[in-house]
Structures are given as structure tokens and as C-alpha cells.
């Protein structure tokens, strides 16, 4: 596939690098005042009273008691369970009690700190284990399940297979909370303009905000306009969470009708925003005498926090990736999204897949070690391929090029030689992982739920404007989509214009999430441009639109989760090499090699940046990014104690591809933004385990945890191979 990139840089690069780009924090409107949220300070309890200090002129406080009669105290995400205001009870530390507005921020925060809230405290359930044990009594329903999933594929009674197996390997894996730590904190401004509520928001999904908050003041989505501002990183953290910020703001705006700006400080953003789901994944794998896998049974628990948010889909995606890139004769998984009294977990790059992929990869590695086989060799035996049945009993539609990916990373990293040479416990280790990520919404979600529409407009000056709801948050959509349009229309890239979406201007082409933007709306842009090209000479100004149509012959049933879950997966292989200081347990990453199948790189440099960044975040998750929750309170609250990697923590990466063009993507492209997160954690943990010859079954692994493994954990192998 031809490289579509010419020598022109991405559209937003110069503006951003020179400091000219406007983020919401940089925006100032006449008469603007500020807001801050008043939050609960206990993880579980009844709010007995709220006492405000006297508010000076120009300062206002609103909470659920101010919701108009036709309004409802609910945010509408997938369900409407997340309350806009706590209204009498606290389900987690940091639940919004009310919103305080006023012109001077110093005074505003001081007033907030003087608000006294009395609680009748209850015992919180914080961890998955707490939730399963119904600590403090059920939070929801009888068993704390927000939702469950059960999937099974292959012939045979799995319990029977387990009973008759030569050997059953049982293991348990766990991962912790992860904070997005986008450099720009959450923030937005609301204003009342020409009879509409207008948001200027740092967000991924402008249409989500409209839908979510309209009901609070009894309005309709059409009464609301959302204008995305340049968004300083999101990674899923600004998918649904902006609804939580926008909700209280619309109530304040309902009364005040003036520009109100609300920007989180870093401590608020770290402690009081959504996180990646902590997980516990248990495996029971049946082996025959020769070490062949007969069946793999698993249970997946995700800590969803107090409200559902997107956890319904996250647990599904997690379970649908439980087999990783493999095919086992029989597989079963049961997933539980557990309610706890922690801040709700929500979208984070990978959306549930990284947790199960870490678990299955590490499990496969451990089985291989146990059998004395190199993990790469062992994993090769089970690679899923085109036509194979997935755990949802659909088929893999595309040609799967994992063997080439393995070849590339192993050769580039000299994996086999190093694997042999370093062995176990030498202080040096090399680790390997395979992973995939299903692109776009699961199953028929694109046609049943989203129904994306895009428009392309030829304008008098010969430029073409893209109209789509897709946001630019750093991932490069604004440039990639213009390259697609330019190529299709045969016009220069400079002539194609993308603007940050304004819901009153662009059609709803669905959320900027699920690695779908290039793959689905990008493809619609291509189609619309094909029509525009054919009709180019009809008029000086012309608008063409394209609607999503799901390919025929790939059925999906959302009630039973049966059928073709994803038509196009991204695939990846990663090798990480580490060196551990035997004295201090400090770990240095010596090399990172990856190979991916992303269909086609619309803009190779942007894809390269996504690969680098995704792998770095995955390594952060697996290594230093410890976010502890003690009794419902996050212990880390800043960029100095929540430890993301610096430039000195990572070596230069080597990046390779083996791209299989995707039939239904623009110029073969498929989703890749999340894929590149999914595997580096497992490769890192593998390398670390081998370097210290210890079994590691959890994430994260900061230095003190590694020392703990050295002192206490089971050896990976007695074999000094």
C-alpha cells in the first residue's frame, strides 16, 4: 500500500508547538466566572447535613435541590445510574455534592473549604474481594454485580475435560487502578448563547455530553451545543467523564446564564476522575500428557466502582479478549463487573482488553516455562487464524499475520539468543507478548447503536471541509482524515480542512473511542469523497454524506454475545529487555521492539507516535504506576507520587509492521490506537520475571514490589536454561 503521507506535517503541529493552540483553560469570555465542585469525603455513607458559609454577592451554590421540576438528577451514559449530584448519600470519595460559582478563584476555593458536610458513615467495599464478600452489605442488587458475561466456544463439557485432564494449571492474576494522567486536566466552560447552552469542552465525545446532561434541566440534546476545544490528551479519560463535569455546570448555567469555567487542578484530576478497572483474572487450564492445552476456563472480575459508566462494555470486551491471539479447543469465560465504593472505573485505552491479555499472556508464558519450552515456541502452537472460531462463536474474517509479527520482533531483538543466554535469575531478562484488539464497537454496535454519518463539503474557495463528530485529542485524526479525503479527491492535503467538532454543525458520527475513528468514520469520509469527486463539477458548493452500513453476512446478537464480535483486529507482538540491579531491585529497560498489523498506516509518522506512546503507557501500567486505594481513598494525588515514565525511563523503540489491509477500512486502515497499549505490560513482566527468576502475577511492579518478589515469590523455574 502506498504511503499516503507527503512531507507535510500534521495539521495541528505548528500551532501546538508554538503555544498558539487554544485549550479550554486558555479561553476567556467577557463576564466569565469560575466554578468548582463540592465533593463527598467519605466512601460510603448518608449525608446528614450540608452547611454553607455565608456566600458573598456574586457567589452561588447549586445542588440536586435546585434541579427544576422537569429535570432529573441523573447522567445518561449507558444507563442512568450515575447521579449528577450525590443527593443524600455518598457512594465513593469525591462524588459531586454540589457546584460553587463565583468570580474570584481564591475566594471560591476558600468558600468550598468552609462547607461542612456531616455524614453517617458506612463500611465501604473497596476491592474486588471486598465486593465479592459483600463488605458493608450489597451496594447494588444482591451480589454487587453491575453486570455479567458468560462466553463459551468449542465442543465438549469443560468441567468434564478439567476432571479428566492429565494436569490442570490454576493461576490468578491481578492488575491495579491506572490513572490516565493526560497532561491537560479535565475542564470545560459553559455559556448561554442565543437560547442554547454552549459548552467549550476538553472531551472525546461531544455528542455524549449533550445526551447525558440535557435531562438534568429538562432540556433536549438539541438545546445544547458542544464545541470541542483542543484536547490535551484523553486516552479514554475524557470519553464519559466530561459528562460528570458538564452535569453540575448545566444546572449552574440554567440559573446564571453567564460564562462559567471549571478546570480541575491536578490533585482533583488524579483523585476524582475515572480510572482503568482493577482486575482479578483466574484461569484453570487443562493439559494433556504432552502439555497440549485441552481447555481453558476463566473467571474475570473488574472493579467497576460505584456506578456502571461504561463497565457493561468494558467487561464484555475484556472477556472477548480472554483468549488473546490464541485458539483453544474449548474455552469458557465468566465475567463480573463488581460494584465497589471507589470512583467509578471507565474507559482507558484498551477498554478492558489489556487486563485479560496481560493475564492470558502471562499464563501462557508460565505454562511454557513449566513445560520447559520457550514461551514463543509454545505460543506459536495456538495462534488463531483466518476462519477460526472465536469465543463468541464468530469467525476470524481476516488473514492473521501473527507469525510474521513474531518473526520480526524476535529477529530484531535477537530474542532466541538472548532468551537462551540470559536464562533465569541472571539479572538480565527478555520478555515477549502477543496481543490484539478488536477495532470499533463490538458486534453490530456500529449499525445498531451508533449509525454514524459524516459529511464532506466542497466550498467556493476550492477547499473541502470535513464534517464529523470525531475529536482530535492528540491521536492525529485531524490529519489522518484529511489525508484520506485528499487522496480520494485527488486534491492537495492543504485543501482539506478539519475543524474541532461543534455539535450544531457536524453530524453525529459516533464517539472518538474504540479505535474506530479512522476505521469507521474515516471510511465514511472516503465514501463521501468518492461521491463528491464524481459530482465535483456540479456546483461551486456541494455537500455529500455517507451513512454507515454493516457488511452483510456477519451476524451478531447482543443479548447472547454471539457472532462476529469484530471484523477487523489489530495484531501485535512486543519484546522488552530489562536489566535488574541485584542490590536494589531497580530495573532498567534496555530495549523495546514491537511489530504490528494496523491494516495500513494512513500517516506512518502518526502511527509510529501512537505505537511509541501506547507501549510507553503499557510499560508504565506494568511497572511504576502504582495507584493505591486505602479504605476508599486514593493515596497518590499528584504527578510526583503517581509515577509515569520520563524520557530517561525508556529506551528508543524499534517499530515494525506486517500490515494486512482491512477490507472495510479506508485504504486498508484499521483500528490501532488501543492495540498498541495492550501488550507491552505482559512483555515487561515476562522480562522482569525471567531476570529475577520469580513468578510475577500482578501489575504494577515498582521497585519495592520487585524487591518483595525477589524475597518472597515462587521461583519461575529451577531450570537454569
Amino acid at each position: 500500500m502506498a504511503d499516503m503521507r507527503n512531507d507535510k506535517a500534521r495539521k495541528d503541529a505548528i500551532s501546538k508547538a508554538s503555544g498558539r493552540e487554544t485549550y479550554v483553560g486558555d479561553l476567556s469570555l467577557d463576564g466569565m466566572i469560575y466554578a468548582c465542585l463540592v465533593r463527598t469525603s467519605v466512601p460510603r455513607g448518608i449525608i446528614k447535613s450540608i452547611t454553607l458559609p455565608p456566600l458573598p454577592d456574586g457567589y452561588y451554590y447549586f445542588d440536586d435541590r435546585n434541579i427544576p421540576e422537569n429535570g432529573r438528577n441523573e447522567l445518561w451514559m449507558i444507563q442512568k445510574d450515575w447521579k449528577c449530584f450525590a443527593a443524600g448519600s455518598s457512594g465513593y470519595v469525591g462524588e459531586t455534592i454540589g457546584i460553587l460559582c463565583g468570580p474570584d478563584r481564591t475566594l471560591l476555593y476558600s468558600l468550598r473549604d468552609q462547607i461542612k458536610v456531616e455524614y453517617e458513615e458506612q463500611t465501604p467495599a473497596v476491592s474486588i474481594e471486598d465486593s465479592l464478600a459483600l463488605v458493608g452489605g450489597p451496594i447494588i442488587g444482591e451480589n454487587n454485580y453491575h453486570c455479567t458475561v458468560e462466553l463459551q466456544a468449542g465442543d465438549g463439557d469443560i468441567d468434564e475435560i478439567m476432571k479428566n485432564a492429565y494436569r490442570v494449571v490454576e493461576e490468578k492474576f491481578s492488575t491495579g487502578h491506572q490513572e490516565h494522567m493526560h497532561l491537560e486536566t479535565n475542564g470545560m466552560m459553559v455559556n448561554y448563547e442565543d437560547g442554547k447552552y454552549v459548552y467549550y469542552a476538553s472531551c472525546q465525545c461531544p455528542f455524549y455530553i449533550r445526551k447525558s446532561v440535557a435531562g438534568i434541566i429538562g432540556a433536549t440534546p438539541e438545546d445544547i451545543i458542544v464545541r470541542q476545544m483542543s484536547t490535551g490528551g484523553a486516552f479514554g479519560g475524557k470519553e464519559h467523564f466530561p459528562d460528570v463535569v458538564a452535569g453540575p455546570l448545566i444546572l449552574a448555567e440554567y440559573y446564571l446564564k453567564k460564562p462559567i469555567k471549571l478546570i480541575f487542578n491536578r490533585e482533583e484530576d488524579t483523585q476524582f476522575s475515572v480510572k482503568r478497572h482493577p482486575s482479578v483474572v483466574k484461569f484453570k487450564t487443562a493439559l494433556d500428557r504432552k502439555g497440549n492445552i485441552l481447555a481453558m476456563d476463566s473467571i474475570v472480575y473488574y472493579n467497576a466502582g460505584r456506578y456502571l459508566a461504561s463497565s457493561y462494555i468494558v467487561i464484555q470486551r475484556g472477556c472477548m479478549h480472554i483468549e488473546g491471539v490464541y485458539k483453544f479447543p474449548v474455552a469458557r469465560t465468566r465475567g463480573y463487573s463488581m460494584a465497589t465504593n471507589t470512583f467509578p472505573s471507565c474507559a482507558f485505552r484498551g477498554f478492558g482488553a489489556p487486563q485479560t491479555i496481560f493475564a492470558v499472556e502471562t499464563h501462557m508464558t508460565h505454562i511454557a516455562e513449566k513445560l520447559g519450552v520457550d514461551p514463543v515456541e509454545y505460543k506459536r502452537r495456538y495462534l488463531i487464524k483466518q476462519g477460526d472460531t472465536t469465543i463468541t462463536n464468530g469467525k476470524i474474517v481476516e488473514n492473521v499475520r501473527t507469525p510474521e509479527l513474531i518473526e520480526k520482533v524476535c529477529k530484531a531483538s535477537d530474542y532466541f539468543e538472548k532468551s537462551r543466554k540470559y536464562g533465569f535469575g541472571s539479572g538480565k531478562g527478555i520478555g515477549f507478548s502477543l496481543y490484539n484488539h478488536g477495532g470499533a464497537f463490538t458486534g453490530n454496535g456500529e449499525s445498531a447503536i451508533i449509525k454514524a454519518v459524516v459529511k464532506v463539503c466542497k466550498r467556493k474557495d476550492g477547499t473541502v471541509l470535513i464534517k464529523a463528530g470525531q475529536t482530535e485529542m492528540g491521536q492525529g485524526f485531524s490529519s489522518a482524515v484529511c489525508r484520506i479525503a485528499a487522496k480520494t479527491l485527488g486534491i492537495p492535503y492543504e485543501k482539506v480542512i478539519y475543524k474541532y467538532p461543534d455539535t450544531s454543525v457536524v453530524p453525529d458520527s459516533g464517539p472518538t473511542a474504540a479505535s474506530r475513528s479512522t476505521m469507521v468514520p474515516g471510511n465514511l469520509v472516503m465514501k463521501a469523497c468518492e461521491e463528491l469527486k464524481a459530482r465535483w463539477d456540479e456546483a461551486d458548493e456541494l455537500e455529500c454524506e455517507a451513512h454507515y452500513e454493516h457488511p452483510e453476512g456477519y451476524p451478531w446478537d447482543q443479548a447472547s454475545f454471539q457472532g462476529y464480535a469484530y471484523l477487523g483486529y489489530g495484531w501485535g507482538a512486543c519484546v522488552v529487555e530489562v536489566e535488574v540491579d541485584p542490590r536494589t531491585a531497580e530495573t532498567k529497560i534496555k530495549g523495546i521492539w514491537s511489530a504490528h498489523d494496523v491494516g495500513n498506516c494512513i500517516d506512518p509518522l502518526i502511527v509510529h507516535g501512537q505505537v511509541n506512546g501506547g507501549i510507553a503507557q503499557g510499560i508504565g501500567w506494568a511497572s511504576t504506576e502504582l495507584l493505591e486505594n486505602k479504605g476508599g481513598y486514593f493515596k497518590q494525588h499528584s504527578m510526583s507520587d503517581y509515577i509515569i515514565p520520563t524520557s530517561m525511563d525508556l529506551p528508543a523503540q524499534e517499530v515494525y509492521y506486517a500490515n494486512e489491509p482491512y477490507k472495510w477500512g479506508p485504504y486498508g486502515a484499521k483500528g490501532m490506537g488501543e492495540l498498541v497499549f495492550n501488550g507491552s505490560g505482559a512483555a515487561y513482566v515476562d522480562a522482569l520475571s525471567r531476570a529475577i527468576n520469580r513468578k510475577i502475577d500482578s501489575i504494577p511492579n515498582p521497585t519495592e514490589v520487585i524487591m518483595g518478589h525477589i524475597l518472597h515469590s515462587e521461583k519461575l523455574t529451577e531450570d537454569k536454561r
Partner: protein, 160 residues
């Protein structure tokens, strides 16, 4: 209190609370919004400026601390030859994603290349180690700074 200082090579004077953060004065009082607030504790580097030619984080300096001193921000650096070259190299090298850390990163690059025109990639990594980026994994930033250094070197060569 009246604070006087040189801001981007112009003498300025402002009546302001002396404890107000330099960052807030630059953004709110002078509209220099290229200076970003990321962490509020001197950790992330998004608010980097040059104070008497030294790279500092403006979120942890009270405005009184720059009284009688020289402050330069991204809004000045972008007008310089070196600054322009760095920015163009960032664009060409794919260093920019969400962009929020980038003005600060450009400041750190400018400071690095001003003091060490031919850095190794290791020195570049060290030079930007106080500037956190969550998007890029740093590789393309490092490459772009390396590219900028080469371009500046060629400019000097061309001039003889």
C-alpha cells in the same frame, strides 16, 4: 505590590499580589497562554519559561521572584531562529500529539540546544527529563530535537 521585570525583551510593570504565581501572571495578566499548567508542583515542565536564561517552572515561582529579572516564554522563543527551527523540526519529526506538554518541551529543547548545540540522544533525553509527556513515549521528540540540532548546525555552516 508593583513588580517590574523584562518580559520577552520588553520592560513591563504590574501591580499584583506578590505571591501570585509567575504562571498565573503570565497567563491571566499578560495573556501568554502558551505557558501551560500541568501539575502545579514543578514536576511536569509544561509551564517552563526562561528566567535570566535558565529554564525554570513558572508554577512554583511567586511573581515577586522575577522583580528586576528577565523572563522569556514560548511566545518569545517562537520568534527566534533557534525556536523556529525547533518548532518546525517538532512538526516534521512527528513530535506533537495532544500538544499540551509541547510548548514546555520546546522551551527545554531551546535551553538544551542553547547550551549544547550538538547533543547526543542520551543528552537530549536528560535535557527533557523534567518535561512529562503522556502521548508520545518521547522517541519522536528526541528525534525531532536531534533533527533541530542538525538543522541549526547546517545553518551555521551555510553562513560560514
Amino acid at each position: 505590590m508593583t513588580i517590574e521585570f523584562s518580559l520577552n525583551c520588553e520592560h513591563v510593570s504590574i501591580d499584583v499580589d506578590p505571591t501570585k504565581r509567575l504562571l498565573d501572571v503570565l497567563r491571566d495578566d499578560f495573556g501568554l497562554t502558551g505557558v501551560k499548567e500541568g501539575c502545579s508542583e514543578g514536576e511536569c515542565g509544561a509551564c517552563c519559561v526562561l528566567l535570566n536564561g535558565q529554564l525554570v517552572t513558572s508554577c512554583i515561582i511567586p511573581i515577586a521572584g522575577v522583580h528586576g529579572q528577565d523572563v522569556r516564554t514560548i511566545e518569545w522563543v517562537r520568534t527566534t531562529r533557534l525556536g523556529e527551527t525547533i518548532i518546525q523540526s517538532y512538526a516534521d519529526g512527528g513530535a506533537v500529539q495532544c500538544g499540551f506538554c509541547i510548548p514546555g518541551m520546546v522551551m527545554a529543547s531551546y535551553y538544551l540546544l542553547s547550551n549544547n548545540p550538538n547533543p547526543t540522544k542520551k543528552e537530549i533525553r536528560k535535557g527533557i527529563s523534567g518535561n512529562m509527556c503522556r502521548c508520545t513515549g518521547y522517541d519522536l521528540i528526541v528525534e525531532s530535537i536531534y533533527l533541530a540540532a542538525k538543522r541549526v548546525g547546517e545553518l551555521h555552516k551555510a553562513r560560514g
